[in-house]
Symmetry: C2
Subunit: 493 residues, 2 copies
């Protein structure tokens, strides 16, 4: 067994360490020289590119257009929406100077005190403020609405405890910002985008999610409502994987954005914003992967099929390649990404372990006997099952297998998730069971006090009021008061 694999911590021993190991060993990302900021390595970035391509298509189908707004935000802009600045002030990277000069000793450079900015600039933690300051000039009449822009960019939130993909000071994301004439339209947009995220998570990432609305304390800073998709990791913890916010008229009022309605009267504009980030890669890893390494859903795998020839001589290698050439071409013509790995500086055993570690969905191996028999060995990464398939059937077999795997991975994650959602009406029982993870469907009295008590005593939080769950009457398991909603409670990342 290859060295890399031996060193991968087992999930059952230390789930957190397993995750950290896997990110490094599968060549996804690494810590950079800058505190809390990661380097996304080519293999990890290739997954992000696949995610971007599909999401971008889905956004454009809803009518959104891409644009680009400045990285830096004047400090005064942040203050304009009171809740917003409260939420972000504590994690802002601040630009104060615009020049360096040779240091006194002449050995390096230092900040030039003569180049101090009149007003400090903040590296965007999110772009509502700079975008609504811009929308002010773009929106005059009802004819300019709806206005729907998205940007793919980097943002910075100075985090004290970071983990690759899950929580980093700088991360990549997309942020959609839409402007509407009516409250109803904006609310519908926020919910529509939540649905887009949920569809993407399930159909592309094979990650089933609970959709719902956040409690007031968990809302985005400046939103009237925050919708969320919550995924369950293999340790039973929740990972908030995407959010969509109904912002009401808060930003329109802060930045004075009005439009003339059909009766020629000015009205404030209604807003939404919505975003997903490289955190999705963390969700992907933690939902499917196992002790052998990554398990990637075929639709997002950078390499979908790897072919490893096993030959004793260069003549045999050539014969294998000749035999496989039309198959490689055929698979590629179907849009399948194929790697033919004839690198002779690495042994087949090393390659097998490495491609398992990297989660390549399908491995094809051809050796001398296969060559004689016109067969090939197929291994699927999700179940690690092997099968010998005749060459003439392989072009039909592989695409079917990839589809089956995509469905199987989703089913497995869904079965796990469903087996770990508990209805619970007893706080003592809850306190006991939450230690093993899982989503708890509980009655809640709707007060911040109860929410805070649960968090303090169990480190669990109210993830959302879930959609599609019957809102039965009942009493709050903590306070004993009449419940307002049934909510999902869980520990989370």
């Amino acid at each position: 067994m290859a060295k890399e694999l031996k060193e991968l911590t087992k999930r059952s021993e230390n789930y957190s360490q397993w995750y950290n190991d896997l990110v490094i060993k599968a060549d996804l990302a690494e810590q950079s020289a800058v505190r809390g900021c990661m380097v996304i390595k080519p293999y990890g970035y290739a997954i992000w590119e696949k995610m971007q391509q599909q999401l971008d298509k889905m956004f454009k189908e809803t009518g959104a257009q891409n644009a680009y707004f400045p990285l830096l935000i004047p400090k005064s802009f942040l203050s304009k929406e009171a809740e917003h600045v409260k939420g972000f002030a504590k994690e802002c990277a601040v630009v104060t100077h615009y020049r360096l000069k040779s240091s006194e000793e002449g050995t390096g450079v230092e900040v030039d005190p003569a180049a101090k900015l009149e007003e400090e600039l903040i590296i965007r933690p999110t772009s509502e403020t700079i975008i609504w300051n811009t929308y002010k000039n773009w929106i005059k009449s009802w004819r300019d609405l709806p206005l729907m822009c998205n940007q793919w960019c980097n943002v910075m939130r100075w985090e004290m405890r970071t983990r690759p993909f899950l929580r980093t000071s700088e991360f990549l994301w997309q942020e959609g910002h839409t402007a509407h004439a009516t409250r109803e339209e904006a609310e519908a947009e926020a919910q529509k985008m939540l649905k887009v995220y949920a569809d993407f998570a399930e159909q592309w990432m094979a990650v089933p999610v609970v959709q719902g609305v956040k409690s007031e304390t968990e809302r985005f800073a400046g939103a009237l409502d925050t919708y969320t998709i919550e995924a369950m990791m293999q340790d039973g913890k929740a990972l908030q994987s995407g959010t969509s916010h109904f912002l009401g008229q808060n930003f329109a009022k802060s930045f004075d954005v009005t439009y003339l309605n059909k009766e020629n009267k000015p009205e404030y504009v209604w807003a939404t914003s919505w975003g997903v980030s490289t955190r999705l890669i963390g969700a992907l890893i933690m939902t499917h992967s196992d002790d052998n390494g990554l398990v990637l859903p075929p639709r997002l795998a950078p390499i979908q099929v790897v072919i490893v020839p096993i030959s004793k001589t260069s003549e045999q290698l050539k014969a294998i390649h000749d035999q496989l050439k039309p198959i490689i071409d055929g698979l590629r013509a179907m849009g399948i990404t194929v790697k033919f790995d004839d690198n002779d500086t690495k042994r087949p055993g090393f390659k097998f372990a490495d491609y398992e570690l990297k989660g390549v969905p399908v491995r094809l191996v051809m050796g001398g006997r296969d060559l004689e028999n016109n067969t090939i060995e197929v291994m699927r990464r999700d179940t690690l099952q092997k099968e010998t398939v005749s060459l003439e059937k392989i072009l039909e077999y592989v695409p079917k297998l990839l589809e089956e795997m995509q469905a199987n991975i989703l089913k497995k994650a869904k079965d796990f998730r469903d087996a770990h959602i508990y209805e619970c009406e007893n706080y003592d029982e809850f306190k006991q069971k939450i230690k093993d993870g899982g989503f708890f469907l509980c009655h809640w009295d709707g007060t911040e006090e109860t929410e805070a008590k649960i968090k303090e005593e169990t480190q669990a939080t109210i993830r959302c009021v879930p959609f599609g769950v019957e809102q039965t009457p009942g009493v709050d398991m903590v306070s004993g008061k009449p419940a307002k909603y049934r909510v999902i409670i869980a520990r989370s990342y």
Copy 2:
């Protein structure tokens, strides 16, 4: 004529103002609230997306992979390569704090002095330093080479005089960074990427370029050689449109990056970097556009064909749409982007002017008479010529026309460029003629003194020692000394 058009300054009156007007009126970009930073609007961004798609494909075909490195660079990293820091220190945005707090008066926020960074961080002006600090861990043996990463990102260079796309404090770009075992391989890579840029400029942007190598004073800070593509704008000025740098072992030595060669001996790695930016959009605008607005090469136009129906009644509109439906579907099936504009709040005349302003290559108009005759009016944006074409031929006609336009736009730009390249051996003549723009092919003695004198007296600079031009012997037109090269001299953006 629509209001927007009336206000577009004519090129002959004020070329610079014409450009600024066009950027705004064609909805490409606008100044943001942050000094020197622009907002790229959806229409402008759509051009950038088309550029990215094609360039990304071309980069990947050379074996480069995408990755992502941190936005912030520790100040000390910049200092490690002496020339590099000299080149960039004066335009660095510096992050000094990581938190805001409520201001004393309680009305806003202010920088929290308790949250001062131990070492200041620089917003990347370019990423050689942080990347080579990372490569140090990735490169151990000759087996790890070549290493070729590219990233699409934003960078920041604090510019005092900015112009949309051409020179902005923040801009979007790609930067490729490659590591090689030998000098020859690195030099070949730098030249190969210059060729990729030149091909992209000519085949996709329809912008002919002069390829060459920069003089020492115009080199990238830290490079041994900088290769450049120089395009000629319609006012005869040069626009440096892309550069590729042979960095030698400078960064490998500064960051101590060595590899074990096949004899197991450590050697420093050889490097290149190469980049193009949103400046290319400026090149596109300034090369082709005219007094009616943008002229876009079909291959990069966000909308390639616009269809404007002219109808007196809603029945007639429906009949036109029914007639055109299979044509719209047919064009889209060929991968052509088509917009059917039946917006009834705008008059046809306004639409015509607006699509001309936005540079949509082909406009199809169908009215009542066309409906009777089974014809459609075709206008091409490059020559503004109109033709009536029978409907049954249109699916064949349009793709051919788009190709013809792409070639015609390139030819026009090439003819203009070639007519404005002058061989010149007399400095007085040069000083006179340079006022009207153009590229001057002159003998140069190779000294910085001559270069500085030309710049001071004429604002023109040595753009490059061009490739593919015979290096005849001669004397420097300024100093009268024996010449080292023939170079291209021009005023530039």
